[in-house]
Every structure is written in C-alpha cells, then in structure tokens.
C-alpha cells in the first residue's frame, strides 16, 4: 500500500468488509440492549449444541475425563462482558457490573442448550479508562446428561474438578454473590489527628472499618440468599483513602468488596469419601491441586503486608 492510497477510493472488498463490521457491531449493540445473544455468537452456540460444529471447552484433559465419567458433556466455551462506567459509585458499580455479565453469561448458556456453566473465571483488562472497568466472565457450558435444559443454569466459579468434588459431597455451587459497601467519614472535630498522642487506637477509623466490613458481609449474605445457603468467599478487597475537604477538615473513604461462590449445601450431610493422607513426591508446588485463582480483577490484599 502506497502512502497516497488513503486518498483513493477503497475497493469493493474493503467496502464489503467495513459494511460487515458495522453490521456486526450494530447487531451486538442492539442484541445486548434487547437482552439477547448477538447473532454471530448465537449461530456458533447453536452449531455446537446440535453437534453440527465441534464442541469447545476450557477444561484440561484430566478435567475432561472427570466430567465425562460423571455424566457431564461439554458444549461450548462461553463468555460475557459488561463495560461499566461508574456514574455514581465505584463500589456499588461492581455488584451491578458482575451481575449484568452474569445474566448475559446465563443467556449464552441457555442458547447453547446447557444446564450448567463450569470453570467460570472473572477477568478484567487493566486499562484504567476514566472511571470505568470491564467485567468479563468466561467458562464452559455443559449439559448434565439426563436432565432438561435450564433457563436458570448453575454458574460455578470453580474449576471442573472442584465442581465434581462438590457434587459428590452433595453440595452444588450455584452462582456468584457480591457484597460491596463504602462509606465516607467526615472528621469535623479533628478526632483523627493523633500526632502527639503516643500509642493509641484511632477509634474513629477503626469503627469506620469495622462498620464498612460488616455491612459488606451483610450485603453478601443478602445477595447470596436467593441462590443458595452459603458462600465460599474467595476474595476480600478493601481500600481506604484520605482527602481534605472544606476548611482543611479531613474526609475518609473506606470500601470493601467481597466476591463469593454461592453453594447449596445440606447441613451436616456426610461426605462419601474417606480422606487419605498422601505425601506428594513432587518437588515444589504440587500439581495435585491444579487450582489457579478464578479471578484477577482485584489486587487481592493477601500479598500486601502479610503479617
């Protein structure tokens, strides 16, 4: 392509490609607004569902083995995204963003004829575009043999191996629950200024934290209740900021986000397996575990300042 080519009329092929692109984008936007699966994706999923096109799965070969032996048939790798701008609250936008993505993921699963989605991972591209973030979920839609298709499929944010382990123990991972809470503290009386106080607890800030964390966990329970009777919260994220408001008075923002896999478990149900102690003869990290974190959307607090 010469450098003056930009002044030429594009050829027919380029025009057709552009038109196809525009059409695709328009279809994706209007489909998502109508709460439908975009056309191109629908065709792919329906192909996989009917067996006209090959199935796809995010599973490893070992996981494939275990899912097949337990009557699960992979259909298609599916994913959903919601890119959200935080108009009014960063913290609470997280619950909204994940829930929209979750709804879209379930629609794809339905289109694929599935009744469960396994190995669901939470992803975010760290672009940091002004006050916004993408909430992306991806996983594998599966069909449990002998069961009808479900319009409210189980969404399991755990790997396939763990999904099966849970099922055997009569526990069903059901979905995703988010607890998010934030609060501002205005320090009118300058109570947080402790410069010459020696060793002393900053009770105002402690109370703020305690309150914010408790409320976030409360939200988590409320959010989990329609889905199951328990959560495995794999992610606790918190941040606090200070800023100067009017008259140099200090303001503090504390926020806490908990992301959890909801489960439905019968209390005190017996676990069918004996647990046998083994010593893995591998050096380094044992591959028996095989579990990578299923989220990378928040920098977890765990690495930072451990004890």
């Amino acid at each position: 392509m010469g450098i003056f080519d930009i002044f030429k009329q594009p050829d027919a092929e380029t025009l057709a490609r552009r038109a196809a692109h525009d059409e695709r984008i328009a279809d994706i936007q209007s489909s998502l607004q109508r709460r439908e699966v975009p056309k191109a994706i629908r065709e792919r999923l329906e192909g996989a569902r009917s067996g006209r096109r090959p199935w796809t799965a995010t599973l490893t070969p070992a996981e494939l083995l275990i899912t097949r032996s337990h009557g699960l048939r992979p259909i298609a790798a599916i994913s959903a995204t919601c890119w959200l701008h935080y108009g009014w609250s960063w913290t609470e936008g997280h619950a909204e963003g994940w829930h929209t993505a979750l709804r879209r993921l379930k629609e794809e699963a339905w289109t694929a004829g599935a009744n469960a989605v396994l190995d669901v991972k939470m992803r975010t591209i760290p672009l940091g575009i002004d006050n916004s973030m993408d909430f992306t979920l991806s996983g594998t839609a599966v069909r449990v043999e002998g069961l009808p298709q479900s319009d409210d499929p189980i969404v399991a944010t755990v790997p396939a191996l763990e999904f099966v382990k849970l099922l055997e123990a009569d526990v069903v991972p059901t979905g995703l629950a988010i607890g998010a809470y934030y609060e501002w503290l205005n320090d009118w009386l300058n109570n947080t200024n402790l410069t010459w106080m020696g060793n002393i607890e900053s009770t105002r800030l402690s109370e703020l934290w305690q309150h914010v964390r408790q409320r976030a966990h409360q939200e988590l329970r409320t959010n989990a209740r329609p889905q199951g009777n328990g959560v495995l919260a794999h992610l606790n994220f918190s941040e606090m900021f200070e800023r100067e408001g009017q008259n140099k008075q200090k303001q503090y923002l504390a926020r806490h986000i908990v992301v959890a896999t909801t489960v439905d478990a019968r209390r005190a149900a017996a676990i069918p397996h004996d647990v046998r102690m083994v010593v893995d003869m591998h050096d380094g990290r044992t591959p028996l575990v095989g579990t990578t974190p299923h989220h990378q959307s928040y920098q977890s607090n765990e690495s930072e300042g451990a004890i």
């Binding site: 382990k165 099922l167 526990v171 069903v172 964390r213 606090m240 439905d264 003869m281 607090n301």
Partner: protein, 271 residues
Amino acid sequence: MTDEIPEHARDRLKGLRSSAHSTGVFTSDFSVNEFLLVRKAGFEPIGLCVGSCVYHVGIQYRSWSKNQELDVLSKAMYHARELAMSRMRAEATAMGADGIVGVKLTIKRLEWDEHLLEFIAIGTGVVHGEGHPGFRAHDGGPFTSDLSGQDFWSLLHSGYRPVEMVMGSCVYHVAHRGILAGLGSIGQNVELENYTSAMYEAREIAIDRMQYEAEAAHAEGVVGVDIHEGSHGWQTHVIEFFAIGTAVLPLAQEIAPEAIPDPVMVLSVND
C-alpha cells in the same frame, strides 16, 4: 472418586431451588477443598468474622549506637493486633461459633500518615455439627487458629485440637557500627557479632512472648509456628520479629502415634 452424583445435587442442577433454608446463609472464605475437609472433620461454617483496628503508633526515641528493643513500637504492634483479634473473636461469639478457622492477619500502612497502621483479622467461624461443646477454648469462648481447613483436618486426626492463636512481637533497633570498627575490618571477612546477637535477642523475645501466651491458654504445645521478620516502613535498622502459631491441646485423650495411619506416598503423573 465415585461416579455418583447424589439426588439432591441432581435436583439442584435441574434448577429446582430448595427454597427452605431454615438455617439462613453461611459465609466463609474457604476454598472448595477446605470447605469439604472442614465438613469432613465434623464442623460446619457459619459466618465470616472480621476484626479491624486502625492504630496510631507513638514516637519512639532510640539511641544510634545501641542494640535495644523499641518498646513503644513493640507494644503498639502487639496491642493493635490484640484489638483486631479480640473483635473478630467477639463477632464469632455473637454468632455462637465454637471456633474460628483459617484466620488471616494482615497489616497495612495507611499511605497518608506514616504513624497509622491498619490491622485486619478475617477468619471463618465454625460450629461442631453435633454441638459437641468440648472444642471451645479454655475460657469457654471460641477457639482461634490460623490453620487452613486442610491443616485443621490433619490436626484433629493426629489427636489434637486448636485452642488459641498465640503471638509474640518484638520491635528491635540494631545498633549502627562505629566508623572505627568499619576501618578495622577492611579487606577481611568478619562476622558482625553485634548484628548477629541483635537478631538472636530480638527473635528470642518474640518467641518467649508467644510461649507465654500459650501457657496462659493452658496449651500443651504450639503448631505451625512462623517467625516473620518485617520492617513496616521503619528506618533501616529497625526490624520486627513476629512469632505466631496455634496453641493446641490433646483431644480428650491423645492418640498413640501408632494408631495414626501412615500417609501414603504418591507421585502424581499430571504436571
């Protein structure tokens, strides 16, 4: 593994909601494996317990050329952790837990003020499935432990139960070397004995304090002891030794070692 999926699980997969959750929702930060093992050990998670404390650390005066414990800092680190832990334990007591498993204790520096440190303790409150009262700590409250679900199962199966998470802290100033001392050792490998002995003393103080706590909890021993060396943004010659572990007691009667099954050795072929 068996190939059976229980009936309840199949119903659930069908999309049938077992709407009657009389027990309410439990929350926990367990991984799947931990969750299964804690249940296997006969316990049920009931709720996440959190304790927070934001602490203002006072001003510490120190002498440039002396090895010494910085008691203001030691006390601050200790007191603040104690506050966070006791709040977490109070939450567990309020929800009727028999104990807290998997306590994670973290310290964060608040960026706008070098004297402010934030302490967080989070763990999962558990109850014994059959309401056995014998797992509580010596004071009748919930036991605390930083053991993971896996470690918890293993500990019970080796005949012990956790009583209390015990800790000891010592913040220490390592003396600077004088200029003359530096000149004397040019071109030679010499041990810096005052540095070595400073490390020894500081570590010993921390372990001793932890052991003292274990005694106060009427424990027989302490498992999973970890000795951290940290410097939470203090100057170069200031270090904190922090010893932490779980104090344990034998279950009603200690299991004889030969009655504990030997672990099986495996070599997994997946990599």
